[in-house]
């Protein structure tokens, strides 16, 4: 039993509310990722689950038991920190075994569990080194090992990969995915990197200003973002936004964007909107809706290329195209998309959906 239930959880620092009535259920064995820009409260929320931060209001349950007042070590949690937080004066072996030593386990059992974890993480050869003698990736493995050795049912990761360089980050991402697959422990993972969120998560929780902006599987968030904020946060390069006007008619809506008008299924909205288009959904010289544009820059990425273009009076668009398009700066092109791929957001920045959907 290691699911997490957050009910109307609030965190205040003086007059400042950093977590505002968050409700969330994390199922047993689930891998949930908290994402959001810095200052959105994702780390605070994680630290509240860990017990490093007091809960001002609301209730936290772990495994069905109220945990608000339980000390961190008794919540059945293991945590991995961004800065690894290894004890610099202890060997890797002692670092791994320290929690067990604190819990007064027999020396033999500590040794056994430490070497099992070391084998699992392939750090056996490092056991007698000090943290300062390890590379960043190795330190991170030890930090994860320190969490694993306590064999808890709930893992918390606080931006564990952000101190690593790109190559190592990918390697460790795969490693964390493997650990979760093999141990099936409930995991809450905080990151500001949407790529980590997309690749690791069973479900993503997008936070903004201390509130949950949207919860869903990576593909739900990608395909049906609930707000302009979520839409621009998930996906890279980020979604393009164009201004448009939506007019309600009997049976259908008419959308005018960059001087081009087309009809859509009826949406119960009338007025200015913004149209979100993912770079990979834009089609060069095709699509159901087409608008004229001017090439600014082509960035070849090898198998594909990013085309930066200008539409109308200075609006910028990025599109992802396959191969290497033969385009020169200032060339006139048409940019198009399928109507079903356009995301519409009203003046309140929330997603608009066709009435029957």
């Amino acid at each position: 039993m290691s699911g997490i239930d957050l009910t109307d959880v609030v965190k205040r620092f003086g007059a400042l509310t950093v977590i505002d009535k968050v409700n969330l259920r994390v199922g047993e064995g689930e891998f949930v990722v908290f994402v959001g820009p810095s200052g959105c409260g994702k780390s605070t929320l994680l630290r509240m689950i860990a017990g490093l931060e007091e809960i001002s209001d609301g209730e936290l349950q772990i495994g069905g038991k109220r945990m608000n007042e339980t000390p961190p070590a008794e919540r059945g949690i293991a945590m991995v920190f961004q800065s690894y937080a290894l004890y610099p004066h202890m060997s890797v072996e002692r670092n791994l075994g320290f929690a067990l030593e604190t819990a007064r386990l027999a020396a033999g059992e500590i040794k056994e569990r430490v070497s099992k974890v070391a084998r699992f993480l392939k750090i056996e050869h490092l056991l007698h080194r000090r943290p300062a003698q390890l590379s960043g990736g190795q330190q991170q493995r030890v930090a994860i090992g320190r969490a694993l050795v306590r064999s808890q049912k709930l893992f918390l990761f606080d931006e564990p990969l952000s101190n690593l360089d790109a190559d190592l980050r990918m390697e460790m991402r795969v490693e964390i995915a493997r650990i979760h697959r093999e141990l099936k422990a409930t995991t809450v993972y905080v990151t500001h990197d949407q790529l980590e969120a997309m690749t690791l998560a069973d479900r993503i929780v997008v936070l903004k200003d201390g509130r949950i902006a949207q919860v869903g599987t990576p593909m739900e968030l990608y395909e049906r973002p609930a707000s302009k904020f979520v839409a621009s946060f998930i996906g890279a390069p980020r979604m393009n936004f164009l201004p448009g006007t939506l007019r309600r008619d009997t049976g259908a809506s008419r959308l005018e964007v960059m001087g081009v008008t087309h009809t859509l299924d009826r949406i119960d909205y009338d007025g200015e909107i913004s149209i979100g288009l993912r770079p990979e959904d834009l089609i060069l010289g095709g699509g159901e809706v087409q608008i004229p544009a001017q090439v600014l820059l082509v960035e070849p990425l090898g198998g594909e290329a990013l085309v930066h273009a200008r539409v109308g009076d200075g609006q910028m668009l990025v599109m992802k195209v396959q191969g290497k398009p033969d385009l020169r700066p200032n060339a006139d092109i048409t940019v198009g998309w399928m109507r079903s791929k356009a995301h519409l957001f009203g003046a309140d920045e929330l997603a608009l959906r066709a009435a029957e959907a």
Partner: protein
């Protein structure tokens, strides 16, 4: 090429001569003390730079029960001051450096203010306190008095050091189930080694060398510490001033400090240079 070589050499000559001057300036009195202590009788009044290596001054001073007793007193006082002020300063530094509470900075300023008074200003008040506590003419009076001066400094240095220890390491220890006492003992103290060594060493030196309190608070010979004992060494008649014995005693008293400094030198330097924790 040639020119730059000569310039380089000149540069080196300049550096080494500066070295030489500084070394001479600081080490000569020390050398003169040792040299004088190894001369005997009237030879001490001749200006010779190479002593005749006679150890009778040392033999005399080391067979002097009063001097040996004061050496022991000094060791007791210095080690007690170091141990007590480190324990108290560590506890204070944990509270002041890691726990958020109202009035933290006024306390820090108060601690600093205490160390700003000149010793002489405190002497009479302190004397009354020591009488009242019944510590007069005991080594306890000196331990008590020296702590007033070593503690504020130790608390400041250790608090600054403790505050800069990474928060996440403490949190990791909390997640590992450590109590505050275990965090301080098993995590912070080993990480603070260099700071502990330098503050401990300074407390040791301060209490080892202190003269005024030691003169004021101690009445009888058997409770004196070495600085006063040396000052009170007298010859067999009032017309004889035993320079040789004083120099020998001074040399003996300096030895523990030199040894301590040599043992811990590496740690002091590494404590000053190594601040970063993340590798």
């Amino acid at each position: 090429m040639v020119r730059s070589n000569t310039r380089k050499r000149l540069h080196q000559v300049a550096i080494y001569s500066l070295f030489g001057i500084v070394a001479l300036y600081t080490l000569f009195p020390f050398y003169w003390m040792i040299a004088s202590s190894l001369k005997s009788g009237q030879a001490i009044f001749d200006v010779t730079f190479f002593p005749d290596l006679k150890f009778n001054n040392y033999a005399a001073i080391l067979s002097d029960g009063v001097f040996l007793r004061s050496l022991l007193n000094s060791l007791i006082v210095a080690f007690s001051v170091v141990a007590l002020s480190l324990v108290l300063a560590i506890a204070a530094a944990y509270a002041l450096g890691r726990i958020d509470f109202r009035g933290r900075s006024p306390i820090m300023l108060l601690v600093l203010a205490v160390s700003m008074f000149p010793q002489i200003a405190l002497l009479s008040g302190l004397f009354e306190m020591i009488r009242w506590l019944g510590l007069y003419n005991t080594v306890g009076s000196l331990i008590f008095a020296y702590m007033i001066f070593t503690l504020p400094f130790n608390i400041w240095v250790l608090t600054t050091f403790m505050r800069d220890l990474p928060k996440q390491i403490e949190e990791a220890a909390i997640m590992d189930g450590c109590s505050p006492l275990r965090i301080v003992r098993c995590i912070f103290l080993p990480m603070m080694g260099p700071a502990l060594i330098s503050t401990g060493l300074l407390a040791f030196i301060a209490s080892w060398n202190e003269f005024m309190f030691a003169l004021t608070f101690i009445l009888t010979d058997e409770n004196r510490t070495v600085p006063v004992a040396i000052a009170l060494i007298s010859g067999s008649s009032r017309y004889e001033f035993p320079y040789g014995a004083i120099m020998a005693a001074s040399t003996i008293v300096t030895v523990p400090l030199v040894i301590l400094a040599l043992i811990f030198q590496k740690h002091i330097v590494s404590g000053l240079t190594a601040g970063a924790v993340k590798g």
